[in-house]
Symmetry: D3
Subunit: 286 residues, 6 copies
């Protein structure tokens, strides 16, 4: 989306890792801080859906090279040199104790550098299998966040906040984690696998903003829609949009992802802006 | 769908027949009573559809190895050993006099064994080309059925029952064929090739049950939907469901088939149950 | 659609040109008057769309072998021997001064022969790059037309007629170009890239006819829909349909094209007739 | 190969037949005398080969629409108007008594017109199933041939000539069938499915010419190589080549076919000429 | 190859496991004793090769559901009821201590039943990672074998026999493991990735037999060639062939596998017999 | 091959250009100095070959955005900051006068910076169409080269040196262009399109070195083999190999390219080194 991004992870030191490196580079992501180590890469198998049949995802992501990442192995000072923003997701600390530790290291370094921090809580129950629960680990990471994406289920599982209202949950979150300034989430109404509606909300300094609502029909591939939303939020924040513009931009990014095969949102900045401003939706672009 | 099934037919004794055998085995169908003989396999060419364009099917099924099946060549005693159910379709007696005779042999053996019998009338005018009409042949086969699938057109062409009301037609059927206890059929409302509604009815002991109605949009491939319905009915009956549960299960199976490419309903028992109970329709299954 | 058609153009004298010749022949188009010359073929790159994402077309059609066509190089007398109809589009005179000249030669020959003439105005701003504007060139070509396809934007850009009402624009057109007897156009309502409505109008001797309106959902590929409409109009005119039948036939052809991948409307005469008469839309054809 | 050819056959009057028509047109074959009738098209299933594994072909060509062709249904006068050459193959009279009769009608008309006649004997034992043997039928067709392609096995089965030497067999053939002036055949040496050698011989007025020998490695697809050879022979004869040039041209066409997927020799006249003159074999053509 | 085979393993209880079950069933393998359990399936990524470029295989087979198989979980009495033969490979005991234990259980049961036992040593250094070496575990499994496949490297790593001559190594093996009666191995000469030669040897009761030598060019896919050889040996032994016939049959199976994409030797019994008897190699089979 | 490379060109400012950017990034090429401008990208259509059929390439590269590059538009100072090497090919000055001028600007800047300069002469007659001949333009570019790739035909057409011996031509070249220190070329012996031999020579300070000779069979795709050779030479030079090692490395890179589909040599440094040292050619790499 026109910004410079650096991805930090561990990839296998084989052709599978090379292919992942190439794909990241092709998408304009800086790969220079990616470690290469023996091991496997996390995978998933995805069966796409249509109409009354649900999509299915089978994860095969345990025992990855990334899970074995060594605390201290990343020179966060250097990685974050000149960075305005650091983003992490709740998948990382769920994978292994080491990954959680490295995540914490990064957060400390980012705060020290003065970079803004966002976290996508992304609670996945089946991931937490190394002896600690999300509630053991997540709070000490969330407390570094300026911007957060999560829904009421995430808040309950990761911070023990039991609220069915997103707005009330947000109020409790900022009380518990005073550095958090903005919280966003998406809402999905499912008619069936091909036909859904999506909108989003952004809670910012006690104000709850609601986005436009998009009808998605037919859905091409929904995987990666949450990441597209998160990316849209960050781009909006960095580029100085208003909260409302940011929310609309992120929601449009999320909606567009549903029209793209694969889990990467290859929609361009211009396409997302156009959709968020309701220009030319569906018109033939010559 | 979790049951043991044996398919009896004749397949060419060449690689095409081998491929058919492998496909049946892959789907869990017992192939040990399939005969192999010189000749061809019936085929069809299918052009899928979208929106305003209709799907087209071109049959090329005359002169098949199956049509030349020899009466007496199947040891039905052995095939039906331990069988709870025998199913036949109206395609078989339409293909050749020999095929009709073998079908009759099977019905006699099944009744003797005490297996329940179902028949899918499936009237296809163009098939009856060996000198006998459906009305000459079908009645003596239908009279063995416990459960039957057919619509008013089938009843007219195969049993001379001229009724536009499914319910009234059913009443006449059971009068004419006292062994028939249950009759089911599906109803399809066609907006266009991509957008249709389907529901079904089960007439059982003078009671007419109507199923839930499914909106199918977009339709991926409708071929095999009738067979999926039939299979659902049999599974419902064998597994001791109530009439209403059986009807809902069969209709859900039929509806799900529309979301699957090819003419085989590979939806699992769990998927069909979930849809028939309206659970998680279209939700991402992790 | 059951008629004999001859295409006149220039194709590269290499395997790319051979492939184009073969494709035209496969569709039943007479290719004997196609010139072969060194050079390239105009191309476009097309990204199909879905739902909220727009389709995109990137043209790469400058510097083609066709653009270098030589005035006088086509023996129009011979080409048009026995022809009832001549059709040209506004793409041709936009490509080069030579192409415009050859187009004029054809029109003179066609009028002399007494063939009916149709023109699809098809104004594309980016094409006019050889020093003349559409308004410089198009009027002297339009004046030969009996039947014309175009919308109010086309009329403005090619004939200086500034009217937002199609009907009023048509009245001005026929005043300015007295040979024009019928003018048709399509109207597209865009919900998104997958979901649109289409209908059309035919202005004939001061009467404005409106066609049926088709819901297109999902759209498979819209490229070529305008050409399908034009072809439908010509077939209707030649085969002696009434204005209303012709309009319905052309609109059905246009609508069906949206269900077909690629830019060639391979729908048959029978399919178009059936849709235009609302028969069996979406039903399985056995 | 730059000549005008007309194919006479019967194709199904459905989309399968349409597709065959389109393919023939794309290859420049005139299809105007092809009859369309209800029925099926002969087919084969082909499994390609490599190295030690043999290719396999499964024929499914009985009961075709062509087999039911009606004697008298082709106006050979009109078909052959202006024709220099008529070609038939031994497949045709093998298919049905009617097909044999139509073949005879064509031969009579061709001789009357003064067209040269070629026949590819192409004996296939499994085809002759309508009550007559090849020896019953073929001799009265062969007697019309000017040019013939066949090997010693063909001669034995179709004309009762039992000779293992091609040359001696040719001498007997011309004695028995005085109109035959030239006989050609190909010889294949098989190392394995990927690696073979091919050459050919042309017996012409008591002289036996041998062609160059081609090493074929790797073979892409050998199906259609015999037809490519036959076509090369006819083109050579019509275009006035010497016997030796004709033989080399036909053998090069046959050899090139082995490098092309599918059973149609799409090699161009120029490619065949170049190979037959040993120019640039395998060089990158820019 | 015409024999009944039962495969015992553990597959994931998800769609990936279902797909593996279906593939095994399609190939005629009895799957009724396959356990289903949570977890992953071992995988490999394969890059095929050509000419000077080597094929590459990246294994990702640790942490599989199979590795977690529970001792005692297989009722070998029942599995082996009526079995003439039991086969195991050195991959199994390498995967985990549990897998080694289950392998031992099977061997005890097989010997008790009187089934012949074969083992493919298949030493893979990178696999032995659970704390025991091949030399710790393999000898007590090898001692149950009647027939064994392995080369001198396997013997060194699994049994400490350091001999460069296959024949001498065999003599030492049978001294150390008196139940072993026959030992076979393949020899591969590599020109490059597309061009290789293969032959094999069978040591049986102090006699060393050498097979025919096959030139493989081009190689389609070599993965699975060892398993094809092993399967050929077993089929030969069970079907009462002589040692020499068995060796030729197994070598032909191994050679044919090189012509087939994927790691399953789908060559039929007839194809293998034909190659082993040098019939029709590469000829078109009609 | 493990080195940092920057590519300078002009790409269209559309999705086609974006795709090219992504592909370059995926291969690790720095794209920051690539200009984006309206226009098209040069293309070619390639028909691969087999055995006796030649590969064909149809170029469509005139009128590209690159051809319109503006002199002075590249800040070579900045591009070359820290660069050890600058490489150009004879394609560039052939495309347009502007491209030739920009090439000259780059050479001046590179010499000023002290970067080593290599040029691949790559004479293509059909390209020189802007009014100057290769002999008008190339000499003033060649005179900056330290290392050059070219054959006797290139030397004749670009420098007027008419010598059939590569060695003698080299001697004349260095006399005429004193800065040239090393000249390399490849030699190809063509059996047919699938089977060729390749070797190379490096003339360095009056010594002519000959490389190993590789048999290429079957050839997968030869396009890009010259570029692979050139890249190998540069890597060898930069990494301080001896002349002989450099030549072997470059020839191995060239040979490996023939085994890879597409025109990019994705072989790794390790693969090339292994082949150049004759290690494990064709062996399965686990």
């Amino acid at each position: 989306m026109g910004m410079t991004a650096t991805h930090v992870t561990v990839l296998p030191d084989d052709e599978i890792g090379n292919a992942a490196m190439a794909e990241l580079s092709a998408r304009g992501v800086n790969t220079e801080y990616i470690q290469r180590a023996p091991g496997r890469i996390g995978m998933y198998f995805y069966e796409n859906a249509a109409s009354l049949r649900s999509p299915k995802i089978i994860y095969d992501r345990f025992h990855s090279a990334f899970g074995a990442i060594q605390p201290g192995s990343v020179d966060w000072e250097q990685v974050l040199a000149g960075a305005d923003w650091f983003h992490w997701t709740g998948i990382t600390p769920a994978v292994s104790a080491n990954a959680a530790r490295v995540c914490k290291e990064a957060l400390l370094a980012a705060r020290k550098k003065g970079a803004k921090i966002s976290g996508d809580i992304n609670y996945r129950r089946v991931l937490w299998q190394y002896g600690k629960s999300a509630q053991d680990v997540m709070p000490e990471l969330i407390e570094y966040c300026d911007v957060m994406v999560g829904g009421v289920e995430d808040f309950k599982n990761c911070a023990g906040i039991d609220e069915t209202s997103f707005e009330k949950a947000c109020e409790k979150i900022v009380k518990q984690f005073p550095s958090v300034k903005k919280i966003a989430t998406t809402f999905r109404e499912t008619i069936d696998a091909s036909h859904q509606f999506i909108d989003a909300a952004l809670w910012s300094k006690s104000v709850l903003l609601k986005s436009s609502r998009y009808e998605l029909f037919p859905i091409v591939d929904r995987i990666g829609a949450g990441d597209a939303f998160m990316a849209g939020l960050i781009v909006g924040e960095i580029s100085g949009k208003t909260d409302s513009q940011t929310l609309e931009f992120a929601t449009a990014a999320c909606a567009l992802k549903h029209t793209i095969e694969g889990d990467v949102n290859i929609a361009s900045l211009e396409e997302i802006e156009a959709l968020s401003q309701n220009n030319n939706t569906g018109k033939l672009l010559r």
